[in-house]
């Protein structure tokens, strides 16, 4: 029997690990000695701020540190090792799977002070940044050069490049530009013994960059990254198509992809979401439609122009009842702002929401959405769908009130049914948010013990004693897999 997820916001048992006071004092003393007192926090009220992410509460860390340099990070790792404290690296804490949450004490390393552009190489379209740099800040910084950083998770106004690297973050535009891993050229990493090394995707040898991107802080701590910048497209068009039912909208998505058209972004929102977005932002989405598609194509004038009639014809053939083209950049921006703030807008519907993140083969989108609707209905949960339809990456938002235990149980059950239906359709348990703590038990539903043991071999190289973000990604049962053949 597959294990079920049992976690939801605030319903994990908040672990308070009691360390002997003497040991805590010693830890603090050593950290302060290495980093200075303003970079070390140990007061309970300070620690509480770092005990959660956008998914759940964990436990209080033993200490929070704010390094200013790679050398600081290296010192922190050595101290953590001496004191037997695990390390949890943290960006902005916007993660949706408990990845940046400390569970059993430990040192949370916040990159809030390592947030600069280190070196900009405009001619070769690349930039070296510190991990705490905010995603959108990078694109803003290079916009005047006609460049941008492509990965654009909805959290990009606050999430960091380091956090994006840890989760291999996606976003609406990765339909065309790919996820974070396609944009990382090399990393500087502090390993589990505090040593520093670099990776580069152009160097011979194993592609350690690929191993680290998406490893959720379990293999090492990224202290800087070379990332790729792209030229801003010369032409951008955004269209909104409205449908009377969600099935037609998803059929239209499948039809666009099957016709061999890959727009830059192909997003879907159902009526629950468009109502919430319009009430909050007046972004310009039709509120009388059961589903809308937000479609963007960017690139060369000729291609973008030609794609408009093709896409319009495909959505019309699949039952779109209206089609609108955003006339100005301002109109496009407000549509996108509405889309990217959709989750927050659901606060008007229910006090809490839980975001599921699954990805299915694109032609199975209609069936996957059907399954989402069935699961929500069966459990009496209101669901809003807002997601990266072109990638087959669903994000059903399950609305609930966390004070009501029955609703919490119903949301857990709905989330599990959605997860299972995605797996049954040949999909995966996370398209872009990561596994973290939330979905680690579900890993056994998509991977065999052998598959997981092979992943564990990689972890054993970089973190044999499990001090880097332990209790994440791997199911509890695979905590100490016997991986070296005798």
């Amino acid at each position: 029997m597959p294990r079920k997820n049992t976690a939801l916001p605030n319903h994990s048992a908040a672990v308070i690990v009691k360390r002997p006071p003497k040991a805590m004092a010693m830890l603090r003393e050593r950290l302060v000695e290495a980093l200075g007192s303003d970079a070390v926090k140990t007061a309970p009220e300070d620690l509480a701020v770092y005990a959660f992410d956008a998914y759940t509460d964990g436990g209080l860390p033993s200490a929070v540190v704010l390094p200013s340099s790679t050398r600081d990070v290296s010192a922190i790792v050595k101290i953590a090792r001496d004191c037997g404290e695990p390390i949890v690296a943290r960006g902005a804490g916007t993660g949706l799977c408990g990845g940046a949450v400390p569970l059993e004490g430990g040192i949370v390393v916040s990159f809030a002070r390592m947030n600069r552009v280190i070196e900009l190489d405009e001619r070769n379209r690349r930039v070296r940044v510190q991990p705490g740099l905010i995603n959108l800040a990078l694109s803003r910084e290079v916009a005047n050069l006609g460049l941008f950083y492509a990965p654009d998770p909805s959290s990009q106004q606050i999430s960091t490049i380091g956090g994006n690297i840890a989760t291999n973050a996606g976003g609406p535009h990765c339909l065309s530009y790919g996820t974070t891993i396609n944009h990382v050229l090399g990393l500087e990493i502090v390993d589990a013994v505090g040593e520093v090394f670099e990776t580069s995707i152009d160097a011979a040898g194993y592609d350690l960059t690929a191993a680290f991107v998406g490893s959720e802080g379990t293999l090492g701590i990224v202290t800087s990254a070379w990332v790729r910048l792209m030229a801003l497209p010369e032409s951008v068009r955004v269209w909104v198509a409205a449908f009377d039912d969600i099935e037609s909208a998803s059929e239209a998505v499948s039809a666009i992809i099957a016709a061999g058209i890959l727009p830059t972004a192909l997003e879907m929102m159902d009526a629950v979401i468009t109502h919430a977005v319009e009430a909050a932002f007046h972004a310009g989405y039709p509120t009388d439609a059961a589903a809308v598609l937000l479609i963007e194509n960017a690139g060369f004038h000729e291609d973008v122009e030609a794609s408009e009639s093709e896409i319009h014809a495909l959505v019309s053939a699949n039952g779109a009842r209206s089609w609108r083209s955003a006339r100005t950049k301002a109109e496009r921006d407000v549509l996108w702002a509405g889309r990217k703030s959709a989750a927050g807008a659901t606060g008007r519907i229910a006090p809490n929401y839980y975001t599921q993140d699954v990805c299915v083969p694109r032609s199975r989108l209609p069936r996957a959405l059907h399954a989402v609707g069935d699961a929500a209905r069966e459990n009496g949960i209101t669901v809003g769908n807002v997601f990266h339809a072109g990638d087959g990456n669903l994000h059903p938002l399950l609305m609930y009130d966390k004070r009501d235990r029955k609703q919490v149980a119903a949301v857990i059950e709905t989330g599990n049914q959605i997860l299972q239906s995605a797996i049954d359709l040949g999909g995966t348990i996370s398209g872009e948010h990561g596994i973290g703590w939330e979905k680690r038990e579900a890993m056994t539903r998509v991977y065999s013990t052998a598959d997981l043991a092979v992943m564990a071999r990689v972890r054993d190289v970089f973190d044999p004693i499990r001090m880097l973000n332990p209790e994440k990604i791997f199911p509890a049962g695979a905590r100490c897999p016997e991986v070296i053949p005798s």
């Binding site: 191993a211 010369e234 000729e302």
Partner: protein
């Protein structure tokens, strides 16, 4: 040690697993062989008992045309996949030399980087899932058939460029993209004093070419050298885009002082493939080909400095500079293999003093094993050795073939 070397061609993942497990237990060392097109890369194996050919591991496993994903067995040739995808107006930018022989597994294991990657991305970024067999016979899957997947470590990408030292890739799943409908190839000889401006103009074109090369030598590539070699440019896209790109390209080359361009429409891709094939074209024992990856704005300069160095050694140099990505292919040759042998090791030292990452990609000169064929190992080499130990503790797979003697 076995006195007799043998060749095996298992026809399923299970058969590969059984073969590897038995070799691993018996202490037999295995070399993995695909189409043999990149046999000029890497060191020869320290010892060889069994050659595991993927020749019987061929065929498309799944072709989900409407999903834009495809899965093939490791021994399938690149040509077979590319041809099938073309019938569906799709493609993956493998850009593998000698695609009729090159296999999916070999191309991925070698980490082959094609010239169109600046436009369409690296092949590794199309790999959405894989099945690999480890030396101990473990069959492990990673990823799947969905285009976005962050469930666990990205094992598939880790196998890319691992040169078969972590396991044998028996299946690879790719996402595909729409195939550009039209292609056009431009050839232009470069008169005296035009090279730098021409390359600068190509790199700055508004409609970026799918590929752009400065070529010096390499007769098998179309076009004829002027005083400073020639440029070869591949444009891809819709008719309307090609029209604009053509005007822009002609005017840019005109500004650089390049008077003539020759245009090929029918056979543009074949012309492009001749460039890619030349990356590994060797003159038997009379040549060694290096490949290095300076940043794009430094590529032409690097190539010229290396030519200078070659002249001092009295060796012939031919060059392909990928202007868009900044990689340099340098074929070093001498009509007399003995003369090459006398100089190549010294040149290899001189080269790596300025370009530590330069790799050898082709050449059958007997001294090749004594060159730094993977470049100077990076500082992370000990971690790579540890990774190898975790995956293949008995050093069963391609022993000694990879960087640092892994």
């Amino acid at each position: 040690m076995n006195a007799v070397q043998r060749r095996e061609a298992p026809s399923s993942a299970q058969a590969v697993a059984e073969l590897l497990a038995s070799c691993d237990r018996a202490g037999e060392q295995v070399q993995v062989a695909g189409g043999g097109t990149l046999s000029g890369m890497g060191y020869p194996p320290e010892r060889l008992d069994v050659t595991l050919s993927t020749a019987a591991l061929t065929g498309i496993v799944a072709n989900e045309r409407a999903d834009l994903v495809i899965a093939a067995q490791g021994g399938t040739t690149i040509r077979d996949i590319v041809n099938l995808l073309a019938t569906q107006s799709q493609f993956v930018p493998f850009d593998a030399p000698r695609a009729q022989y090159a296999t999916v597994g070999g191309t991925l294991a070698a980490g082959w980087l094609g010239p169109r990657r600046h436009r369409y991305g690296r092949v590794r970024d199309y790999l959405i899932g894989s099945t690999i067999v480890l030396a101990d016979g473990t069959i492990a899957k990673a990823g799947g058939m969905v285009v976005k997947n962050v469930a666990g470590y990205d094992m598939s990408r880790l196998y890319v460029g691992s040169f078969g030292t972590l396991g044998v890739l028996v299946q690879a799943n790719f996402k595909t993209i729409p195939r550009p409908p039209h292609a056009r190839l431009f050839l232009a000889p470069l008169p005296e004093g035009t090279r730098d401006r021409a390359c600068g103009q190509l790199a700055a074109l508004r409609v970026a070419p799918a590929a752009a090369f400065w070529v010096d030598g390499f007769n098998a590539i179309d076009g004829e050298d002027g005083d400073e070699g020639r440029v070869v440019v591949l444009l891809e896209g819709s008719d309307a885009l090609l029209e604009r790109a053509t005007l822009e390209l002609r005017s840019a080359l005109g500004r650089a002082g390049v008077p003539q361009t020759h245009v090929i429409d029918a056979g543009a891709h074949e012309g492009f493939e001749r460039v890619v094939d030349a990356y590994i074209a060797c003159l038997g024992e009379r040549s060694v080909t290096y490949r290095l990856y300076p940043p794009p704005d430094a590529a032409t300069g690097s190539a010229l400095r290396l030519h200078e160095a070659l002249r001092e050694f009295g060796l012939r140099g031919e060059t392909i500079v990928d202007v868009m990505n900044g990689d340099v292919v340098l074929r070093v040759s001498d009509l007399d293999p003995h003369a090459l042998g006398a100089k190549i090791e010294q040149f290899d030292d001189a080269l790596h003093a300025v370009e530590p990452a330069a790799q050898v990609v082709a050449g059958e000169h007997p001294n090749r094993p004594y060159l730094r064929v993977w470049g100077v190992p990076p500082a992370s080499i000990e971690r790579m050795r540890e990774l190898k130990t975790r995956f293949d503790p008995n050093r069963t797979l391609n022993p000694g073939c990879f960087i640092g003697g892994i």
